[in-house]
Homo-oligomer: 352 residues x 2
């Protein structure tokens, strides 16, 4: 089994983690190495579910924070092993997100008596279908392993704290018509034409940009699919518009649905899919401290991320990790070495 | 081979024709019987192409009229042999259109010296895909067989003359956008929302109802298909609207296209399919005579029919035949016996 040196140089640890391939579904070798390395430390209780590894202190502190990161990567594109290029580490997984995992593993090893209790979570299947997500599986199988007052996911966040995330809801709007032969179209009622009313609503819609706990969000209401018509000579009796609503975390799923029903008054609407957003939790004392320590203005997270999985357990969560999130999934992904050291430094100062 | 008695009772002939099954693709037995029966008459030249049979007089008249009908039917639905029910003949093919064929066959046999030269056309594959249509095949293979000054198709027309037919054009309108993640929709441009502009045009469009050679047509401009969107979390970069334009026969295909390009100014439009309409030809002296003799107000034909195939050869054409066209293709189709006799009488008085 590969050996991980958790107490050595964090940059060397990042390289080692990257050079153990762990494309989604193939995380076992890395998960075994992580579990084995963590079990060397007596101050940690180590737990395992599939290829997810959880380690936690049990110091009886009043506050518990959770540090989490995923072990898997998107497929390798001839970009391993890692290459050191001046101040950069280049290669698959460097930015998304083994640098963040390396920082957390080193904290786990070195912080024997942190001022908050800490739960470290390293999980599988983040880069694939949501139903496979290892963090989601832990939420279902072992919610008690994830309890805490505040969570940080080590995803790349460009050195700032990215708070919470927006929720998402998909609705199917069904617009009826009356079929007729196209040669006598006035005997029918064209469902596609009537769906123009749905597009009118979408074109006129002004998305909110609310500020929640100091972070500015940006909503969106968009048709993501439209379909109607069965033959070139038939007036269609059905047109379906699928709409995606991205909503700020000051709205819950029920409020989002009520809003859509009001916006689309007169149309038949069915919710097909919804995931709540997550408040950033920056009103928590431990979170405030951390944001001040990072020293940069926190940003709202617009896309839905795994922080929302913590939100379902009532644990506010943010993203904070080394590297530029826009490089994630690119074949040329890299992480700047100074950012790894900065992240390690900030988290250590906060937790020590 | 089945024997057809062309000079006996036209109602008995209708029954005999119906009771020889001739579902599209299976017309050979009936075509053989028709050819054989027509060859008994020395005043007719008989020609054959596949299962289409053409017979014509050669009297050197200044005017030639064409009488045409299809031999095939839609599939039998346990509605053969024909049942006589009071004044009705019930069963597959009675109304669509073996009563009309029977009338024409009797005219072919009896009118040895009509006042116009007459070409009789009995063809296959009318009830299936247009590319198989026997009349279309004759237009391609033997256009000279179909020449004339005026044509009548014996399709059921409820005792009136149905003139010409509308043309049809299908266009594909492609609306572009800029893809983006649905969580950051403002970075993209939603093609489905932009396609709302196409639906605006369609909803505001006022179709023409022009009078052409005394007949009132009714145009239509309708979306018959719409599709856009590739995933529930992506702002679509393409939406396609398929539009069907039904246009009166005072417009040709080029004029119809120019009209659509003007109506949809600013949108990318591609013509995918077009078929010209057909003028009714009611300004022809022979046609005028016939309409007066029928004594009922002629009606515009709105759907595209085989009369347009004659139009492509420069032969104006109308529909005239016994029975209600709305019964065509129904399992309960029937034809009233008096209408068969009326059609035979009117055509005889016109041609004798």
């Amino acid at each position: 089994m590969a050996h991980l040196d958790l107490t050595g140089d964090v940059v060397a640890l990042t390289r080692t983690l990257c050079d153990i391939p762990s494309v989604s579904g193939d995380e076992k070798q890395l998960a075994d190495a992580v579990e084995s390395a963590l079990r060397e430390f007596a101050h940690l209780e180590v737990l395992r579910d599939g290829d997810a590894v959880v380690a936690r202190t049990g110091l009886g502190r009043a506050t518990r924070v959770v540090l989490a990161g995923h072990l898997d990567t998107v497929p390798i594109a001839n970009n391993l092993p890692v290459v050191e290029d001046g101040d950069l580490l280049r290669g698959r997984g460097t930015v998304d997100m083994k640098a963040g995992v390396a920082v957390m593993l080193q904290l786990a090893a070195l912080l024997t008596t942190p001022r908050y209790d800490i739960t470290y979570v390293f999980y599988d299947h983040e880069e694939v279908a949501a139903k496979l997500n290892g963090l989601g599986r832990l939420v279902r199988n072992h919610p008690a392993w994830l309890t805490g007052d505040f969570a940080i996911l080590g995803e790349p966040s460009d050195g700032t704290v990215e708070g919470g995330c927006q929720g998402t809801m998909r609705v199917k709007i069904t617009v009826p018509g009356v079929a007729a032969h196209a040669a006598r179209s006035w005997r029918g009622s064209n469902a596609i034409h009537s769906a123009g009313g749905v597009l009118d609503v979408l074109r006129a819609y002004e998305p909110r940009r609310p500020i929640v706990e100091g972070l500015q969000y940006h909503e969106g209401l968009n048709a993501v699919k439209i379909e109607g018509g069965i033959a070139g000579n038939v007036i269609p009796d059905l047109c379906t518009v699928f709409v995606n609503y991205r909503f700020a975390p000051d709205r819950d799923v029920a409020t989002a649905e009520a809003h859509l029903r009001e916006v689309f008054t007169g149309f038949a609407l069915e919710v097909t899919d919804a995931a709540p957003g997550a408040r950033p939790g920056l009103d928590q004392p431990a979170a405030k401290e951390f944001v001040e320590l990072v020293g940069r203005t926190p940003q709202a997270k617009l896309g839905w991320t795994d922080v929302a999985r913590f939100a379902t357990l009532g644990v506010p969560a943010v993203n904070y990790g080394p590297g530029d999130p826009l490089l994630a999934h690119t074949d040329g992904e890299f992480v700047p070495v100074p950012e790894i050291r900065t992240a390690l430094g900030n988290l250590t100062r906060w937790l020590i």
